[in-house]
Symmetry: C2
Subunit: 257 residues, 2 copies
C-alpha cells in the first residue's frame, strides 16, 4: 500500500526541504513511485526540483482551498518516478482563509484519498517551519511523521513541543499517526555540540532515531541552485550517499514484519 | 529618540534569533538601554537570554492579546541594560485569535507606544520564520527592518518575497518603515556558494547590505546552551567581534546627519 510521510519541524532551517527532496529522489531511484507535496509558501522544494514559479499557477494551495484534484497539480520532475505538487506563496493565506471551514484540517487527507488511483508508493510532504494549519493538514493526511533534527541547541529545544503536537493530532484527528523516525542533520563530527546533541537525542528517544546521520556537506546546499537533487547533481558526495542510506534504512524499518 | 527594529526573514534558520540576542547585547554593552521583544512561539531568544519557561507566565502574547503593558512583561537579563519581553508557545494562536479584531496588526505598536516612558533607546523584535500576523505586528511597530540573510541559495530565493511584504506593510500600515539593513550571516569565505550569494546580494542591493558579515562560528551556536549571549560566553570569538562591529556600523548609519 501507499505510505504518506510528513516531514515536519517547526524549527527553521533544519533540513526539512533538503530531506524531502533527496529522500524522495533516493526512493524514486530504487524504483518506487514518489509524490512530493510542497506545502511551504516558500516553495523551496518546488524550486529545488526545477518547477519554475510561472508553472505554479495551480499548486498545492488549490488542493486545500479550491478542491482541485492531485492529478491536476502533480507534475513529473527530471527524476524518473518522482513527481511534485508544487507549493506557492498563496499557501501563507490558508490559516485565515479556512478559519471557518469545519473540515479545514482534513483537506489534504481528502485530496490524497481521492487520488489513490494514481498509484504512488510514497508521498512525502514538505512542511513550513510552523505548527500551523498547513502542518496540521500534513500530519492529518500522513501515516507517519519524519523529523529532521539539526544537531544544535535551539533545534533540540523545540523537539518536545513538536512531540506534544504530534500526540495532539493523533488524539484528535489521526489516530493512526506514528513517528517514522528522527534523522540527525548537518551532523559535524568535529563539533562537540553536534556530538553532544546527537548523544542526548539517542539517549532519550532511542530507536526512534535513525542510525543514518546526514553530515554537513556543502554539495547538498549547492544542488538547489542547479534545480537538481544532490543525488543527481553529485551522487557520490557524502550528502547523497547519506540520503541513499536513509532511504534504505527507512524501507527496512517500515517493511511489514 | 527610541529606535524600533524588527529582525525579519521568513526563511528558517538564517540567524534571526542569534542576531537579535547578540546585536542587542552589543548595543547594551555600549551603554544603550535595549529591549528585546521575543515574538517567536519557539521562544529561542528568551531561552538564549536565560528566561526559564516557568517565568514566561506573562509574555509578549499578553501584550498582543490581553492588553498587558510592557512594564509587566519586560524583565532584566544577566546583561546590564538589556531587557527581554519573553515569547511563549501561546503566540502560535495569535493569527486565529485576532482574526476578527480590526486592530489586529497594530497591537504591538500600541503596546510599545504606551511604554515610551520606559526609556529604551533600542527595541529589537525577534520574529518567527513566517510572514504572518506576528511578523506584520513587528513591521508595523518598527521604524525599520533588519534582515539576516544566510549565504545560501534557498535563503536568497525568499528575499524578493520579503521585500515585497515590507513594501505592502509600508503602503498599508506603516508609511515610515524603512530597511535598516541586510546582514550576511553564516558567511564562510572558503565556500564558493557563500561568496557567490554575497556578491549577488551586494550587486543588487548595494548600500542596503552591511559591510560587516557574520562568519560561521561554532561559539555562536554553543552560547545559547549556557543561556548566555556569545558576547558574554566568549567575547573574543569571531562571532562576538562581528556582532560588536555590526552594532557600530548600525549606530553610525542611523545617526541623524
Ligand atoms: N546536510 C547539510 N549540509 C549542508 N547544508 C545543508 C544540509 N542540509 C541542508 N542544508 C542547507 O541548509 C539550509 C537549510 O536547509 P533547508 O532549507 O532544507 O531547511 P528547512 O528546514 O527546509 O528550512 P525552512 O524551515 O526554511 O523550511 C539550506 O540552505 C540547505 O541547502
Ligand atoms: N554565524 C553563525 N555561525 C554558526 N552558527 C550559527 C550562526 N548563526 C546562527 N547559528 C546557529 O544556527 C542555527 C540557526 O540560527 P537561529 O536560530 O538564530 O536562526 P533563526 O533565523 O532565528 O531560526 P528560526 O527561523 O527557527 O527562528 C542556531 O542553532 C544557531 O545557534
Ligand atoms: Mg524548507
Ligand atoms: Mg529564531
Amino acid at each position: 500500500g501507499r505510505r504518506v510521510v510528513a516531514v515536519v519541524n517547526q524549527k527553521g532551517g533544519v533540513g526539512k526541504t533538503t530531506t524531502a527532496i533527496n529522500l524522495g529522489t533516493a526512493l524514486a531511484a530504487v524504483g518506487r513511485k514518489v509524490l512530493l507535496v510542497d506545502l511551504d509558501p516558500q516553495g523551496n522544494a518546488s524550486t529545488g526540483l526545477g518547477v519554475a514559479v510561472r508553472d505554479r499557477a495551480v499548486s498545492s494551495y488549490d488542493m486545500l482551498v479550491n478542491d482541485v484534484g492531485i492529478e491536476r497539480v502533480a507534475t513529473p520532475t527530471k527524476v524518473p518516478n518522482l513527481w511534485v505538487a508544487a507549493g506557492s506563496v498563496e499557501l501563507s493565506g490558508v490559516d485565515i482563509e479556512l478559519v471557518d471551514a469545519p473540515d479545514r484540517a482534513l483537506r489534504l487527507r481528502k485530496a490524497l484519498n481521492a487520488a489513490e488511483s494514481l498509484d504512488f508508493d510514497h508521498v512525502l510532504i514538505d512542511c513550513p517551519p510552523a505548527l500551523n494549519l498547513l502542518t496540521v493538514n500534513a500530519m492529518t493526511a500522513a501515516d507517519a511523521v519524519l523529523v529532521p533534527l539539526q544537531c544544535e541547541f535551539f533545534a533540540l529545544e523545540g523537539l518536545s513541543q513538536l512531540l506534544k503536537t504530534i500526540e495532539r493530532v493523533k488524539a484528535s484527528l489521526n489516530p493512526h499517526l506514528t513517528i517514522e523516525g528522527i534523522v540527525l542533520t548537518m551532523f559535524d563530527k568535529r563539533n562537540n555540540l553536534s556530538a553532544q546533541v546527537g548523544e542526548d537525542v539517542r539517549a532519550t528517544l532511542g530507536h526512534l532515531v535513525y542510525e543514518t546521520m546526514i553530515p554537513r556537506n556543502v554539495r547538498l546546499s549547492e544542488a538547489p541552485s542547479h534545480a537538481l537533487p544532490a543525488l543527481v547533481y553529485d551522487h557520490a558526495c557524502a550528502g547523497s550517499q547519506a540520503y541513499l542510506q536513509l532511504a534504505g534504512e527507512m524501507l527496512r524499518r517500515s517493511k511489514p514484519a
